[in-house]
Symmetry: C2
Subunit: 400 residues, 2 copies
Amino acid sequence: MTTTRPGSLSALRLANQRRLLSALQDGRQISQAELARLTGLAPATVSGLVRDLADEGELVVGEGVANGRRSRMVQRAPGRLRYGIGMYLGRAHVEAVAGTEAGDLLAESSAELARGYAPDAAAEAVVALATEVRERAGLTPDQVFGVAVAVPAPVDVRTGTLTEPVILPALVGVPLRERLREALGRPVVVENDANLGALALTRRAGAGPGPLVYVKVATGIGAGVAVDGRLVRGAAGSAGEIGHLPLDPGLTTVCRCGRRGCLETVGSAESVRAALAGALRRDLATADVHDLIAAGHPVAVRVLEDAGEALGRGLGWLSMVVDPAEIVLGGPLTAAGDAWLGPVERGFRRAVLPGVARRTRITLSPLGESTEAVGALIASLMENSHIAVEMRTDKQDVNA
Amino acid sequence: MTTTRPGSLSALRLANQRRLLSALQDGRQISQAELARLTGLAPATVSGLVRDLADEGELVVGEGVANGRRSRMVQRAPGRLRYGIGMYLGRAHVEAVAGTEAGDLLAESSAELARGYAPDAAAEAVVALATEVRERAGLTPDQVFGVAVAVPAPVDVRTGTLTEPVILPALVGVPLRERLREALGRPVVVENDANLGALALTRRAGAGPGPLVYVKVATGIGAGVAVDGRLVRGAAGSAGEIGHLPLDPGLTTVCRCGRRGCLETVGSAESVRAALAGALRRDLATADVHDLIAAGHPVAVRVLEDAGEALGRGLGWLSMVVDPAEIVLGGPLTAAGDAWLGPVERGFRRAVLPGVARRTRITLSPLGESTEAVGALIASLMENSHIAVEMRTDKQDVNA
């Protein structure tokens, strides 16, 4: 791992280089003046960085016309556009996308996993799918900048291991990051899926600096919290584990964590499916649930409303802790649209102080089902999240 | 307000200057080599900064001996040591301390306020006490670098106004910061008391970068959350308002916020006093409560245990959102020591996932009753918290 002296010129230079390269990541050719505007860097700084990056073969510089004037135009060198692999390892399947910094997806693939899979089987499936999607994208191993794997459980990103044995037992103690790194020969990041969703959303156009929370509502419920564009991971990756807020200890449903009344037992997509299956006394798959909701089946509507209100209350608790500007929801229930969002908002407004109720926006993820995978792709292309984490802790003295 | 182009050399220089000055804030004379070690800056960078700061009269440079070798020794110019005023404006009293960057308190004072005071009366009392403590410290108005006022309510630090009308109605809409700035002629910061407590604790020796939560338990309950040494204030200052987590909606106590079963109705110092007074059927002051607890009165012990367990559960909810490394408790109940801390820990361990229960340390504030005032003093001496906030939002691209 590269170590950079905090506060040094080389750290500043590295940060400015990244800022500049990320402004060029969509592959467009833009003028140096525009680059200065986009990055907030001084024109002289941009000139120097462009010259050095062109020498290193990262950028192509040419003459062109911008705003009617002859200008120095800059573009990412095509061969240097980074490729990454973003993956999602769930309870019953694994997904992979290969794509570029510009957000173009080159290949996608997924595979089923037997529920309750053995750790080795999961690691092998992840390696196999990463290899498959790389080959289908026409990439050599060396062309892949990095691989990031989203998992629906708390992760200590420093070690790439899972920290809460009760949440995804199959993978606890499995050195997933090392296995993948050895098999693929590339840098690997393992990170919580909701955190990666939040990462994806902080990078979208128009995202403000105010705290942003992404909530993935599926089998479980997890939140990714970003403050000033940075993920709040907690002491060991358990920040945002709101699926286990004890929303109603009086309820008798025992959660997989061993406690009762956890938010995920009453507010998750799985809780909607289970409650509906129970009420209708038949087996239901996720697709059946969507059909019933879309058809306005009264039992389905009521079950969805109750789950939405419960989720809203849980989000209210979260908001009393971090006071987000925006809460973005993801996962299969987003397909129900306002029929779900309305009850979530009602539950939320009742659970928070008036100022928070008035200010906080709750929306459905514009990235849909791809939110976590897009986040994993972004993370796979990042310079080195560990360096970023360490640089951060050295900035204490300039911030309150 | 000074604006600095983000990522520019001057922003880096300012950050490095602050880092260097803060290493010298205790007034000691130390060698340049030691300064480089303490700040993590390159020796050449330290040399340049010391030369420039000495030219500006901020530092005094001389020859001395460090580690047995002749060395260039550096010290803060005595006349340049900053003085600040830290204040606390509560529901029934106002406190002020005048002190130095080195943490020396020069004068302290406090005054009673009538409960339910009028806004003007509070503003006048704050101005009068700030003036009094300044004069008792022997300082001219110009010698005061700044004033910070801690208030037990959510504050929007950008405007210095209170954002939740139900929490401290007397001050809502009062331009406290402007009133003080006009009357005292110095920069003024108004900030939530628990946030300032967290600020004080992040600056103590040995504080790690892991999330730290300071919880002030008094009439109400508020938390200050610091991640990587930075305060999480939220979209409009309501982060950490855990006193209004709906811990038990089935309870009939109506909270001042208009809802039922809020944590502060069952876990605050005031709730202990009220429950004990009710059970013993007599009026009790705070001092009486402490006497009964110290004497081991069985009703007092039980009431304290119940309140501690309720607080612990609320802290568990908070921890599922931010996963702190350490939770530090403050306020009058700290005087009860383990008789309170034990039940808090029991309630906490039952409310969180096993990994969080195992890792999170819960302690009593080593700064005791002064935690908020020390935090206010630190804030009064800070360069400009608004600049810091703005610089922060520009660093998104170097962090994940």
